[in-house]
C-alpha cells in the first residue's frame, strides 16, 4: 500500500515539476498549466492557474475553461466565468448562451447559466435571473443558483425577485434568498424576512433572524422574541438573541433574561451579551 501510494505521488510530482514556478499572482500562466491543473482534479490548483492566466492571450485555454462552466463544483464554474469575464467576445457569447439556457428546460444548464451571469455581475441579467428563480419547472438547484446570482450582483433591482423567492417551496431557495438579501448594496430593511423567522426549515429561520439583526430591523422584534423563547432549534434561538441585542429595544429584556438560562450554551452567552447592550 505504501509503495503504491508513494509511486502515485512521485509520478504526480514528475508530471507537475515541469509546470511549477515561482508564485507571481496574475503572471506566468499557460494553457499547459491550466490543462495540467484540470487533470489533477484539484480545485485549488485549477483556481490558482486560472487566476495566473487572468490576462493571458490564450486561444488554447478557451476550450478547457469553457468545459469548466459545466463542472459539478460551483467554485470551478465561478472561476471559469471570472476568467471569461475578461474576454469580451467570449463573455458576450457566453452571456447570450446563458440567457438562452436560463430560459430553457434543462435545469443543469440553467444552473450553470445562473452562475455565469452572477459572476459577470451585471445588473442587466437581473430580469432573466428573476424569471428563472420563479420558474417551478426548473430544479430547486437551478432556482437556488438564480437566487444566489441575484445576491452576487447585489443590486437593489433584485429585491422584488428575492422577496418572491422567499416564498419558494424549497428551503434551499428560501435560504439563498435570505442570504442574498443581505448582499444587496444599500439594503435598508429586513421586513420581508420577518415571516421567514417562522419558516419550516431551521436553517432558513436561523438565517432570517440573523439578517434581521444585522439590518437592525425593529419590525422583526416580536417574531424574534417568539423564536427566542419557543423555537426548538438552538441556533435559531441564538441568532434571535443576537438580533434582539442588535435591535436594542428594552422591551426585549424579559425574553432575553429568560434566555440566559436556556438549555444551550450557544444561547445563554449570546443572551447575556445582548442584555448587556440594552
Amino acid at each position: 500500500m505504501r509503495t503504491m501510494k508513494t509511486n502515485i505521488l512521485a509520478a504526480a510530482v514528475v508530471g507537475l515539476l515541469t509546470f511549477a514556478g515561482t508564485a507571481h499572482a496574475g503572471r506566468g500562466g499557460s494553457a499547459a498549466r491550466i490543462q495540467n491543473a484540470v487533470a489533477t482534479g484539484s480545485t485549488d490548483a485549477i483556481i490558482a492557474e486560472l487566476e495566473r492566466a487572468e490576462r493571458l492571450i490564450c486561444d488554447a485555454c478557451t476550450p478547457t475553461v469553457l468545459d469548466l462552466i459545466d463542472h459539478d463544483k460551483y467554485e470551478l464554474r465561478e472561476v471559469a466565468a471570472w476568467w471569461i469575464a475578461r474576454r469580451p467576445v467570449l463573455k458576450a457569447q457566453l452571456t447570450e448562451r446563458s440567457t438562452t439556457d436560463l430560459a430553457g428546460s434543462d435545469s443543469r444548464l440553467a444552473r450553470n447559466a445562473a452562475d455565469v451571469l452572477g459572476t459577470f455581475r451585471h445588473p442587466q441579467a437581473i430580469p432573466a435571473l428573476a424569471a428563472a428563480a420563479a420558474r417551478t419547472d426548473l430544479s430547486s438547484e437551478a432556482r437556488m443558483a438564480a437566487v444566489r446570482a441575484l445576491g452576487t450582483i447585489g443590486h437593489r433591482n433584485a429585491n422584488t425577485a428575492l422577496v418572491a423567492a422567499m416564498g419558494d417551496g424549497d428551503a434551499t431557495v428560501r435560504l439563498a434568498a435570505a442570504t442574498s438579501w443581505l448582499q444587496v448594496r444599500k439594503q435598508a430593511n429586513a421586513a420581508p424576512l420577518v415571516a421567514l423567522v417562522g419558516d419550516a426549515d431551521g436553517d432558513v429561520r436561523a438565517k432570517a433572524a440573523a439578517v434581521i439583526g444585522e439590518l437592525k430591523d425593529a419590525s422583526g422584534r416580536a417574531a424574534l422574541e417568539a423564536a427566542l423563547t419557543g423555537d426548538a432549534n438552538p441556533v435559531v434561538r441564538r441568532n434571535a438573541a443576537w438580533a434582539l441585542g442588535r435591535i436594542g429595544d428594552a422591551g426585549s429584556r424579559a425574553a432575553l433574561t429568560a434566555a440566559t438560562t436556556d438549555a444551550s450554551s450557544l444561547v445563554r452567552q449570546t443572551a447575556k451579551a445582548a442584555l448587556a447592550g440594552l
Binding site: D44, E51, L56, T62, P88, R121, V184, R185
Partner: protein, 734 residues
C-alpha cells in the same frame, strides 16, 4: 535522549495507523505536561493562504499528556458539548495566559459561519461569543485585559459590502476585538485586502499577515498593530527584506524575533518553509537570542531553518515536505520547535492527481533546527494534527494603553507628516511638494462587473489634497476605517517620482496617524523645530472627512476640487470628443500610429490604430479577445505587454504606452500635453515641462484644454488609469 528513526516513524504513519512516537526523554519539552493541538479532517482544497471558510466535519481540540510516545490523547472540545457541536470544524485557537481556557474559531455546520468559542480546558464547558451569525470570525488570539483579538469578514458600515479582492475574489478578513465575556465587540480600520494569522508579541502588540495589493504590489507581509487596532506598522517582508511571496502564522521566539511560515500564495495547502525572522539587531541574553534593538525593516533579517523546503509553489519532495506551522520551544540561536509537518509533495495539484486518500498528512514533530532533524510526537493519518503548543501558563504582556485621540471630530482619522521631505524612496527637494493627495481605495464590491480597466489598479476616489506647509508638515482629517494611499504632488498636481505610496493604510475613528516624513528612514529620529509643526498650528485640511461613502463621488462637473473618481467614459471621453477626435480618430497616419500583434503559430494577426473616440474596443489574436474597455482607453493604456510576451506573440510596430499607470509625470500623454499649474491656483501660463522640449500639444493645435481638464488627465494617470470609478460603476446603487 532516545530518538525514533524518522524513516521507521514515517513508515508507520504511511501504513495508516495512529502513532504517538518518541522516547521517555522529552528533550526541549522537558517540564511540559501536555501539548495541545488541533485535529481537522484531512483535506486538499482550502484555498490560497488567505482563505478561511474551509469546512469539513469534524474537528476537535485535543491534548497529549505527557507529550511522548506513551502519552494519552484526550479530547478537550467539543464531542461532549452537546448535539449542536457534533459537526463542528475548528480552524484555529489560542491558549489563555493561565492555560485554563482556549478560545477557538468553530463552524457548527455548513450552513453557518465560523464563530468564536471559549472552552474550559479542565471541564470541557464551552460557550460561544456573540458574534454576527452572518459573518465569519476566525483566528482568535487572547489579549491581556480579558480581551480577544480576531479577524472577520464582518463590517461596521451600514449599506456597504466588505471588500472583495477582485483578483482572487475572496471576501476580505479584517481585525476586531471583543471582551472574553462577549461584550464590547469592536471592528478595526480596514485594509483593502486580507489580514490573517495574528499572534501576540511580548511587548503587547499583535503581529499579523497583511495582503498588500495595490497596482503591481501583490504579496503578504508581516505587520504589527496595537491591541486597540491602531498604530499599524510594517514589520517584515517589504522593502526587499523578504525572501518569498508571503509570510504567515508568525509566533514570537523572543522579543523582536518570530518564527513564520514562508510560502507561495497558492497551491501549498497554506504550508511552507520555516523562517527565523529577526525584526531588529540580534543579541544574546543568557543563551537566548533577542532582536528587539533598533527594530525596523532596514535592520530586519531572516534565517531559513528548513533550507530544503520550497519557498515557491512547486511540489516538495519526499522526506522534505512542508510545514503547516511552528511553535518555538526555546530562543536558542537555532531554536527547537514544535511543528506540524507533512511529508512528500505538499502541493494541491500533485495531491489532487494522486487521488482521494492522498491528502497532505500533517503530524506533530519536535524539530531541531540546528541539526535539521524531526522527532515525531503524534500523527493520526486521518486527520491534520496542527497548531501544537505546550499546555502551559505564560506571562501576559503589558497592556498597551489605547492610543490617544485627536482633538477634532471623533468620527474621523487624523493623518499627516512632520516633514514630508524626509524620504528614503523619493528625492523630494524642499519646496517642491505642494501637497499630499489622499486617495481612497475600494474594490469590485461597489458594483464593478469584473475589473477596473486594463491596468492592475483598484478603485480610486480622491478625498482631496492637503497642502504641505513651509516646514514640510501637513495634516488632514479623513474618514475613518477606509483604506487610503498617499501621493506627494507638485504644483501641477503630478505625483513626484517614487512618491506614489504603493500600500494602503487606514485609521480608526479618533486615531492620529502622523509620520515623520514620506516613508522616512525607519532608523532615524525625526527632529523638528521646537514647538508645533506649522500644519498643526494651522489645523488639518478636511478631506471629505465626514462624508459617507455615497457622498464620496464627483459632482456633475469634473473640476479640480470637485473630482473624486475619474470615470473614463463620462469624464475623460468628453474631453477627447471635444478636443481630440477630430484628428485622433483611428485613421492611420502620423496622428494615429498603428501597431500589430501576431501569433507566429497560427499566423493570426490583430492591428490597432490610435483612436481617442469612445466606443467598445477589444484586442487579441484568434478567437480570444480582451477588453480594451473603449477605443480611447486601449489607445492610451495599451495592451498588457507582459501577457503578450507570455503568450509568445510577436509585436509589429511600436506599441507606445501613453499612460504609465500610477505615474503621470513620466507618461507620454502628460508630457505631450504639458499641463498647466494647478496649485495653489490654476494658472494657464505656467507649464509643467520646458515648452521648448515639450510643446503643449493641445494648445499648439488650437484645442487648448482647461486647467480642470489637464488635472483630470493627471488624476487619471496617477490613480492608475482605471476605466471604472464609483461614478460609472454599472452595478452601483448610488
Amino acid at each position: 535522549m532516545k530518538r525514533i528513526n524518522l524513516g521507521i516513524a514515517l513508515s508507520a504513519m504511511t501504513f495508516g495507523s495512529v502513532v504517538a512516537c518518541g522516547g521517555s526523554d522529552p528533550g526541549p519539552l522537558d517540564g511540559v505536561d501536555s501539548v495541545v493541538f488541533l485535529q481537522r479532517p484531512k483535506r486538499n482544497d482550502m484555498g490560497d493562504i488567505f482563505q478561511y471558510t474551509s469546512y469539513v466535519p469534524t474537528g476537535r481540540l485535543v491534548k497529549l499528556s505527557p507529550p511522548t510516545a506513551d502519552g494519552e490523547l484526550t479530547e478537550i472540545c467539543c464531542g461532549s458539548a452537546g448535539a449542536e457541536y457534533q459537526n463542528m470544524d475548528i480552524s484555529g485557537y489560542d491558549l489563555s495566559f493561565d492555560a485554563k481556557e482556549i478560545v477557538f474559531s468553530g463552524r457548527l455546520a455548513s450552513a453557518q459561519a465560523f464563530g468564536l468559542f471559549i472552552v474550559n480546558v479542565e471541564s470541557g464547558d464551552v460557550r460561544q461569543l456573540p458574534t454576527n451569525p452572518n459573518r465569519d470570525y476566525v483566528n482568535p488570539v487572547y489579549l491581556p485585559g480579558d480581551k480577544v483579538f480576531f479577524q472577520t469578514n464582518d463590517l461596521d458600515e451600514t449599506g456597504a459590502q466588505q471588500f472583495r479582492d477582485e483578483y482572487e475574489r475572496g471576501t476580505t478578513l479584517q481585525m476586531g476585538t471583543v471582551n472574553d465575556d462577549g461584550t464590547n465587540l469592536k471592528l478595526g480600520p480596514r485594509n483593502l485586502s486580507h489580514r490573517v494569522f495574528p499572534t501576540l508579541l511580548s511587548d503587547g502588540r499583535v503581529m499579523l499577515t497583511q495582503w498588500d495589493h495595490l497596482g503591481d504590489m501583490n504579496a503578504g507581509h508581516l505587520m504589527t498593530v496595537h491591541p486597540d487596532m491602531t498604530t499599524m506598522r510594517e514589520a517584515f517582508g517589504k522593502e526587499g527584506t523578504g525572501v518569498t511571496n508571503s509570510y504567515l502564522k508568525a509566533r514570537e521566539v523572543s522579543p523582536g524575533r518570530v518564527i513564520a511560515i514562508g510560502t507561495s500564495r497558492d497551491r501549498t495547502i497554506q504550508a511552507g518553509a520555516i523562517l527565523d525572522i529577526r525584526l531588529g539587531e540580534p543579541y544574546a541574553v543568557d543563551g537566548a537570542i533577542h532582536a528587539d534593538r533598533n527594530m525596523s525593516e532596514d535592520t530586519a533579517s531572516y534565517r531559513l531553518l528548513t533550507p530544503s523546503v520550497p519557498l515557491g509553489r512547486e511540489p516538495s519532495s519526499m522526506t522534505v515536505g512542508r510545514y503547516y506551522d511552528a511553535y518555538p520551544l526555546n530562543a536558542r540561536d537555532y531554536p527547537d520547535l514544535l511543528v506540524s509537518w507533512a511529508d512528500g509533495p505538499v502541493e494541491s495539484g500533485t495531491l489532487g492527481a494522486a487521488g482521494p486518500g492522498n491528502e497532505a498528512n500533517f503530524g506533530i514533530y519536535v524539530y531541531d533546527s540546528n541539526r535539521k532533524t524531526r522527532r515525531p510526537l503524534y500523527d493520526d493519518p486521518a486527520m491534520w494534527d496542527i497548531f501544537p503548543r505546550p499546555l502551559v501558563a505564560r506571562d501576559a504582556p503589558p497592556v498597551i494603553a489605547p492610543s490617544g485621540t485627536h482633538a477634532y471630530d471623533q468620527s474621523t482619522t487624523l493623518i499627516g507628516s512632520m516633514d514630508v521631505h524626509r524620504s528614503t524612496v523619493a528625492n523630494l527637494q524642499r519646496g517642491s511638494v505642494y501637497g499630499v493627495r489622499v486617495v481612497e481605495g475600494f474594490s469590485v464590491e461597489e458594483g464593478i462587473p469584473d475589473d477596473f480597466g486594463i491596468t492592475e489598479h483598484e478603485g480610486a476616489a480622491v478625498l482631496g489634497v492637503a497642502p504641505v506647509r513651509a516646514d514640510g508638515s501637513w495634516l488632514a482629517l479623513m474618514p475613518a476605517n477606509i483604506p487610503v494611499h498617499l501621493q506627494a504632488i507638485d504644483v501641477f498636481g503630478m505625483t513626484h517620482t517614487n512618491a506614489n505610496e504603493p500600500v494602503w493604510f487606514s485609521g480608526a475613528a479618533g486615531e492620529s496617524r502622523v509620520c515623520g516624513g514620506c516613508h522616512e528612514s525607519r532608523t532615524d529620529t525625526v527632529i523638528i523645530d521646537p514647538g508645533l509643526t506649522e500644519a498643526v498650528a494651522r489645523g488639518p485640511s478636511d478631506l471629505r472627512a465626514t462624508s459617507s461613502r455615497d457622498q464620496r463621488i464627483s459632482g456633475g462637473t469634473f473640476t479640480r476640487d470637485g473630482t473624486v473618481g475619474v470615470p473614463w467614459d463620462s469624464a475623460l471621453q468628453n474631453v477627447f470628443d471635444a478636443k481630440c477626435v477630430s484628428c485622433h480618430n483611428g485613421t492611420p497616419g502620423p496622428a494615429n500610429p498603428s501597431w500589430s500583434i501576431s501569433d507566429p503559430m497560427t499566423g493570426a494577426t490583430f492591428s490597432w490604430t490610435f483612436d481617442l473616440r469612445g466606443g467598445v474596443a477589444t484586442y487579441g489574436v484568434g478567437d480570444e479577445m480582451f477588453s480594451g474597455y473603449s477605443r480611447s482607453h486601449l489607445s492610451l493604456m495599451g495592451p498588457d505587454m507582459m501577457e503578450l510576451e507570455d503568450a509568445g506573440l510577436v509585436i509589429v510596430g511600436d506599441i507606445k504606452i501613453y499612460v504609465e499607470p500610477g505615474n503621470a509625470r513620466d507618461s507620454e500623454l502628460i508630457k505631450k500635453l504639458n499641463p498647466v499649474q494647478q496649485f495653489p491656483a490654476q494658472n494657464g501660463a505656467v507649464r509643467a515641462f520646458p515648452v521648448g522640449q515639450f510643446p503643449a500639444h493641445a494648445a499648439a493645435v488650437g484645442q487648448e484644454l482647461t486647467p480642470d481638464e489637464y488635472y483630470l488627465m493627471i488624476l487619471m494617470a496617477d490613480l492608475g488609469g482605471q476605466f471604472y470609478s464609483r461614478e460609472n460603476a454599472p452595478g452601483a446603487a448610488y
